[in-house]
Assembly symmetry: C2
Homo-oligomer: 249 residues x 2
C-alpha cells in the first residue's frame, strides 16, 4: 500500500493550508492510513496534468489516482471498507453532502473575506503573482480592499456560523459522538485560515472553539502540529496587521 | 394506539401552516401512524398548559404527551422502532440536527420576510391581534414594512437556498435516495409559506421545485392536499398583493 497526495504548499513547503487537502489528510488519518504528501503550488498545474484536471488534492493509490475531495472520501470508504468509515451509511453521506455545500457556498466565502490578503503573502513568488492577478481580476479590486472593512466581514462570518455553533453545542460533532467526514469538511475551512492567515476566527469563549480544539487534537494532533504561516493574534487588542510571514524552511 | 396532536390553525380551521407541526405530520405519515389533529390558535395557550409550555406541536400518545418537534421525532423513533426510522442512526441524526439549526437560523428568517404580512391575514381575529402586536413590538415596525422591499428579500432567500439547491440536485433528498426527518424539517418551512402566503417561493425552473413536488406527493399526497389560504400567483407577472384570503370553513 503506497498512498501519495499532492498537497497545496506555501513558500515554506511545510505550510499546507488547502481546505480541500485538509479534508483528505484528516480522512486518511481517520482510516489509519499513512500518506506521503507532495508539496504542490498553484503554478505547477503541469505536475498534476496526468489527473486530467488542475486542482488538489490528487490522491495516488498504487497505480490509481482519484481527484476531488468528495470523490476521494467516497473512494476511501469503498476501497478501505474494513477500516473506520467516513460516513455510516447513505443518510449520513447525503447529509454530509449538504454540509459540504453549506461549507462551500456560505462558510468559505465568509472566511475568504478575512483571509485572502494574508494568504497571498504565504505563497511562493510565482504563486503569489498568479494568485493576485487571477483573484483580483475576478474580484475587480485589490485583495486588500476586498478584505475591508474587517469588522463587517467578522459580523457576517458570525451570522454564517449560527447553525454550526448551535448544533455542535448539542451534538458534539457533526457526526454525533465522534467526528465523521462532515466534521473534516468544516475543519478544513477553519484550518485553512489558521495555517495561512493572521485572522483569529474563533474566540476562546465561542462554543465552536471547543469543537475546533477537539478536531485539532484528533489523530495524534495532526491538525495542531501543522505549521502556521503567521502567529494568530488576539482579536480584541487590535492586532497590528503587518509583520512578515514565517520564514521559508 | 391513539395519537392526537395540537396543530396551529388559521381562521379557516382547515388551514394548517406551522412549519414545526408539518415536520411531525410528515413524520407520523412516514411511520405509518395516523393522528387526530386538533386545531389550535396562538391565543389558546391555556388549552396546552398541561404540557408545561406554550407551543405546538404537542403530541398526545395515550397517557403521555411530548412537546418540541425534535423531541417528538426522537420519541417516535424510540417508541415505534419497528416502523420506518426517521433517522438511520446517530450520524444521520446529528447531521439532521445541523439541518434543523440551518433551517431555523437561516431559512426561516429569510422566508418570514416574505410571508409575515400574509400570515397575519389568515389568522382568527383574536390571533391576528395578538400576532400583530407581539411581532410588531419585536420588529419595531409594521409587518407590512418588514416585508418590503420584496425584491431584496427574494434575493436574500435565493442566496440562502444555495447549499440546499446544489445538494438536493445531487442527492435527491437530504436523506439520500429517500426522505428522512431532515427533509421533513425543510419541507415544513416551504409548506408553511405555501399554506399561509401568496409568496411563490419556488419557481418552476428551480431544482428545489422538483424536490418540493416530490415531498408534496409523499404519503398519499399529504402535503399536496393541504388547504391553502391563498392561491399562489406567478412571480414574474407582478401579482396583485391584495384580495381576501380563502374563506373560513
Amino acid at each position: 500500500m503506497s498512498l501519495k497526495m499532492y498537497d497545496l504548499a506555501g513558500n515554506d513547503p511545510e505550510v499546507r493550508f488547502s481546505p480541500y487537502c485538509w479534508r483528505i489528510k484528516m480522512a486518511l488519518a481517520h482510516k489509519g492510513l499513512t500518506v506521503e504528501t507532495i508539496p504542490w503550488r498553484f503554478t505547477e498545474k503541469h505536475v498534476i496534468a496526468f489527473s486530467g484536471q488542475e486542482r488538489v488534492p490528487v490522491l495516488i493509490d498504487g497505480d490509481r489516482h482519484v481527484t476531488d475531495s468528495w470523490e476521494i472520501a467516497l473512494y476511501l470508504d469503498e476501497a478501505y471498507g474494513d477500516r473506520p468509515a467516513l460516513f455510516a451509511g447513505e443518510q449520513a453521506r447525503a447529509a454530509g453532502f449538504f454540509v459540504k455545500r453549506w461549507c462551500e457556498t456560505q462558510l468559505h466565502p465568509a472566511l475568504v473575506r478575512l483571509a485572502l490578503a494574508d494568504i497571498v503573502q504565504v505563497l511562493t513568488p510565482a504563486d503569489a503573482a498568479y494568485f493576485r492577478q487571477s483573484r483580483e481580476q475576478a474580484l475587480g479590486r485589490p485583495l486588500e480592499d476586498y478584505c475591508e472593512p474587517r469588522e463587517a466581514h467578522r459580523k457576517a462570518l458570525d451570522a454564517c456560523l449560527a447553525p454550526l455553533r448551535s448544533s455542535l453545542k448539542v451534538t458534539g460533532f457533526l457526526g454525533g459522538g465522534a467526528p465523521n467526514f462532515a466534521d473534516y469538511i468544516v475543519f478544513g475551512a477553519f484550518q485553512w485560515v489558521r495555517c495561512s492567515s493572521r485572522e483569529p476566527v474563533l474566540q476562546p469563549h465561542d462554543p465552536l472553539a471547543g469543537w475546533f480544539e477537539r478536531m485539532l487534537g484528533l489523530h495524534d494532533g495532526l491538525g495542531a502540529k501543522a505549521p502556521r504561516a503567521f502567529a494568530q493574534l488576539p482579536l480584541k487588542d487590535g492586532p497590528p496587521r503587518d509583520g512578515p510571514p514565517r520564514e521559508a524552511g
